[in-house]
Every structure is written in C-alpha cells, then in structure tokens.
Symmetry: C2
Subunit: 328 residues, 2 copies
C-alpha cells in the first residue's frame, strides 16, 4: 500500500524565502571559469566561489537565514550551537549582525584560526571537555542542551535544520540564475546541509540537471548511507577535508535520498592535487573540503566530458602555516 506523499522538510519556497531574508546581508559570490581548467578536463567548468562569501564559507547563508528567522522575542535570548569550524564563525557573524548573543560550544582542540574567527565575530565560546581527547557528538549535544536550558537561547544545528538547509540552498539558486543550463552540479557532502539545499534548488530550477555529492573515500558515510537506504554514521574519519567528517542527519538524509543523483568518492591525494590546482591555475584560496568536488572531476568520477559542470567551491578557510604540500 502506497504511503501518502509527504511534504519534503525543505522546499523551493523555503529557499526563495531565505534568499529574500538574507540577500542584503550576504555576498552574491562570483562564478569563475578557466580555459586552462576546461582544456584539462575536456568540459566547461563553472565554479561558484563561496570561499569569497562572508566569513569565507557558504555556511554564512544558513547561519543568517536561521538567525534572521527568529522572532524578536526569540532573538533576544540569543542562539546556541556546537561547531569546531566554519559554522561557529558564521553563526557568530550572523548573531552580531542581528545584535544578539551567540553561544558556541567548541572543543579545546579546535584550531586556533577557528577560535580566532569566532572571537573576531563576537561569539561566546563555551569549552567542551570530553572523556576522550575529542568530545563525542553526544558530549557536544549535552553541552548545547545545558546552555540552551540556562539561557533559553535557540539552537541552530550546523546542517540538520530546516533554516540552515534553506539558507545553503540560496547558493545553488544564485548559481543557476547565472548559469541556467548546467548539466551537472557538484557539491561536497559532510553533514549534508549544502548538498540538501543544492538538490532542492537545482531540481526545482532545472529538472534535467544531475546533482552529484562529492565525498572523501576516507569519510564515505553519505555514499554508504545512500546505498544502504539508512544513515550509516561516520566513525573517526581522518580525511584532510576536515569540514566533511560529520555524518548525515535525518533531514539531510531524506533530502539527499530524494534529490541527489549520485555520490562519488575521491582519494586524499586527489583532494590535495585539486586544492593545489585551484590555487595554481585559478588563483583562489580554497580549503580541502572545497577541493573534493574538483577532485571528482580530476579523478574522472563524473561523466563530465563535453558537458557543462557547476562546482560549488564551499569555502576558503585554511591554515597557511600548515599547507598539505609543505608537509614532509
């Protein structure tokens, strides 16, 4: 017996509303091309450069959408989230822009550059100590719950949150308005917020487009989850793509299952090579997580030959003292 059709957790209307809510606060990022790259890949490649987004990452979109979705009475109590990376900085920036408090649960081992970004944007860091070296996601959730109870702040999940996903979808919306006839759209997948929003927007605007998630082989939980038809969590991945170590949530799993055509995986060497290629040829600073989609083209994991391929370059926050090609 067929189930009645269920409303998807995020639809195109939510993405359009998000865009109206955030468009005067975020940056419309440029789309770049390179004749050298096209010749190398035998394809026409378009890169949507979210490394130029405010705070250096696409997550600014979802963070602003979530923070500016709050009613005034909610907003006055602030927002809380846990993140050791880009979402922390993005939420801090969005909260400061609205003039409210942001509580950020971070592990003691967070990179100094990420801590500095949160502080620069005025986020209030709450250190989370775990029993192990790295706090578990349960320990983070407990910390967020504790802060939430103490402050009555609103929790904004980094990816498994309708407001976050709708905000991330504004990137593909902009991208397809500028380049409507792409054959493929590639985005990296970690927790799946970006890929979910991308799939919703891309399929709504261009029913022929193929949406491909790109993932490190060393953190291939989304690939395995899609094959298995259920969420398979990622355990302790060591990939250089530090933004992609998280597992899918129920909302992102549902949206990706419906809207994504395939998830392909790439090697660690491929990620480093793609990152370096972008720096060398395109003259843009991109982080390893962003290089994963370009790596999928370089490693011929997508049948892109002769096609128009859009890549969402997700962010550019790297530690310049610790570049992968300078390691011995």
């Amino acid at each position: 017996m067929a189930h009645p059709p269920t409303k998807p957790p995020v639809a195109m209307d939510d993405i359009r509303s998000a865009r109206a809510r955030i468009e005067d606060k975020i940056r419309v990022t440029p789309v770049m091309t390179s004749a050298t790259l096209d010749a190398l890949l035998h394809a026409r490649v378009f890169l949507k450069c979210e490394n130029f987004q405010r705070a250096g990452v696409f997550k600014t979109r979802g963070a602003f959408n979530a923070v500016f979705s709050l009613s005034d009475s909610e907003a006055v109590r602030g927002v809380v989230t846990s993140s050791s990376g880009n979402h922390a900085a993005a939420i801090s920036l969005a909260a400061r822009t609205r003039g409210i408090r942001a509580y950020i649960a971070m592990p003691k081992i967070a990179l100094q550059s990420k801590v500095a970004a949160v502080r620069r944007y005025g986020g209030e860091i709450v250190w989370v100590a775990g029993r192990g070296e790295i706090p578990t996601s349960d320990e983070f959730e407990a910390a967020v719950a504790r802060i939430q109870i103490e402050t009555n702040a609103t929790t904004v999940h980094p990816y498994n949150d309708r407001r976050t996903i709708a905000g991330q979808g504004t990137c593909a919306l902009e991208f397809l308005e500028e380049c409507p006839d792409l054959d493929f759209m590639l985005a990296p997948v970690g927790g799946g917020g970006l890929l979910s929003g991308t799939a919703v927007a891309a399929k709504a605007l261009n029913s022929d487009i193929k949406v491909i998630g790109c993932e490190p082989a060393m953190a291939d939980d989304a690939h395995r989850s899609l094959r298995a038809g259920r969420i398979i969590p990622q355990t302790m991945p060591r990939t250089i793509a530090d933004g992609l170590r998280t597992s899918l949530g129920d909302l992102t799993f549902a949206l990706i299952s419906t809207g994504v055509d395939d998830i392909v995986t790439v090697t660690e060497d491929g990620i480093v090579a793609a990152m370096r290629l972008a720096w060398d040829i395109l003259k843009i600073v991109i982080e390893p997580s962003s290089a994963v989609a370009l790596a999928a083209l370089l490693e011929r994991r997508v049948p892109a030959e002769g096609k128009k391929v859009g890549i969402i370059v997700s962010g550019g926050n790297v530690d310049l003292d610790n570049l992968p090609w300078n390691k011995k």
Copy 2:
C-alpha cells in the same frame, strides 16, 4: 625660455584603442572588497584583481595590445622579447592567440614555473648565457637583437614600449569605469609599464585622483629617480618582489614624472605580511609584487584614512612550494 609642449608618448586615445583591440581576448577582471580589510585600514579599499587575468597577470593586456597591433606582414615574422617572468608567458599566449611565433630570451636560472608557463603557451625559448651567474641587461639586449636580425621578428619590450604601456592602461580604465570616484589609485612599480599606463588613464578619467606608485624599499630606483629628476638604474636588488627588480625606461620615466603624485616604499616584512593578509582574508592568491601596494596601506605610507582607495593587484603567479612564510 619655455619648451613647446610635447605630445606624451602614450595618451588616453592610445589606451582606448588598446581596449578596443584586446577586449574580446582578455578578461575584465573583478573588483573585490572586504569589510574586514576596510575595518583594519580605516578606509574603503577596492582591489582590481589582475591575478585573475589570463596568464595570471596584468601583463597579458600589454602583450595582447602589442601583438595585435602588428600588421599581417609584421606578424608573420613573429615577436621577440626577453623576460624571465610574467611578460614571457603573456607574450607567448598573445602570439599563440594570433597564430604567430614568439621567441623568448630567458636566463638559464629562470624559475621552473615560469619556463613551464612559456612552454604551455607555445613560446620558443632561447637560453641566454651571461658571463656572470645572471646575464646582464646588456647581454639580454644583445640576445634579443641577434634573434631579431635572424628572424626579422618584432621586438616587444616588457615595459618601455608604447604598445605595452597603452595595454597596461586598460586596467585602470576598466577600474575607474566600475569605481569612478576613487580618491587614490595604487599600483606597484618595477619597470613602470603598469604605473605609466595607470597614470595616463586615471588622470584622464578623474583629474582629482592621486596616483601612487608603490615600491620595495630594497628596489627603490623609481622613488630615487623621481626625486632626482633622472633615471637612476637599479643594481642587483634582492627584494622578494621579483617582478619589481627592473629599472625605469625613458618612456615610463617620462610618463611617471608627469602623471604620478608620489612613489612610496615598503619593507620586505610588510610585503610578506600584506601577501599573507590577502590570502587569509580575501582568499586570493597574489604574488609578492602584487602585495606591495597593499603593504603601502598596512604600513601607513598613504594618507588613506576615510578615503576610497583603489589597488591594482598585479598578478598571482607564485611558487606554492616556496612560500615566504614557510621559509625558516
């Protein structure tokens, strides 16, 4: 007794003609801004990103203008130049685009990345051996003259050439069309091709604008030449800004003397700090020579506070294996 007014070697008409000649062959580069940078500098800063120009450098403009200025009968004999750097690649690309030969006199010690760029664009390298480790400019000139006699190719000087200067001026023309009311325009100065073209265009389009040349203190020949009222050649400068080690020519000296308001100098540490800041905050790969103008703001060598400041970011060709902040 007053001399009669002499026609300047390059005028605004030449720059407009250059633009018409090259506009379908080069890239209109983006102008970038950063709220973080503005807050740091207490100014509104606009960066014209020639690191995104074809071949990764503004010199593509002058090279295309020179190569496409040739008559068909001249063009068929090819072009010749000497350069160990960006001009070599730019001329090779322009010649290939026109379908003619480019002879490039290079020293054996040229960086591998520069040699590879010339080869990628089909330039024919003629190695120049000097009596010392690095061939002198006389030895280069002799090599170019020899090739010129053998091939009847047209010589295109990297900076002291009307066609080159007019081409470089198209950058400021684009820049001021997008940002007409800048108070300052800053450009690096080596041989002076970019700064000369910038001064001609900027003063023609906005008579109030201040044009400032920016130079490493370790290669301050333009600064000293302007003060002295005659060309003082640079001898063996060791600055990290490898594109700015050359001396002015008679044409660039004349144009800079007339059109440039000041030349300021910066430290080597300032250049590295500015380069790193651009990578970190703006997420763009820029070369040390490009960082000199940003360094002038960071080191407060320009009274920019509260003003609108345009910076020409000249190029992005760096050796990623050899970054200045990774050196011990």
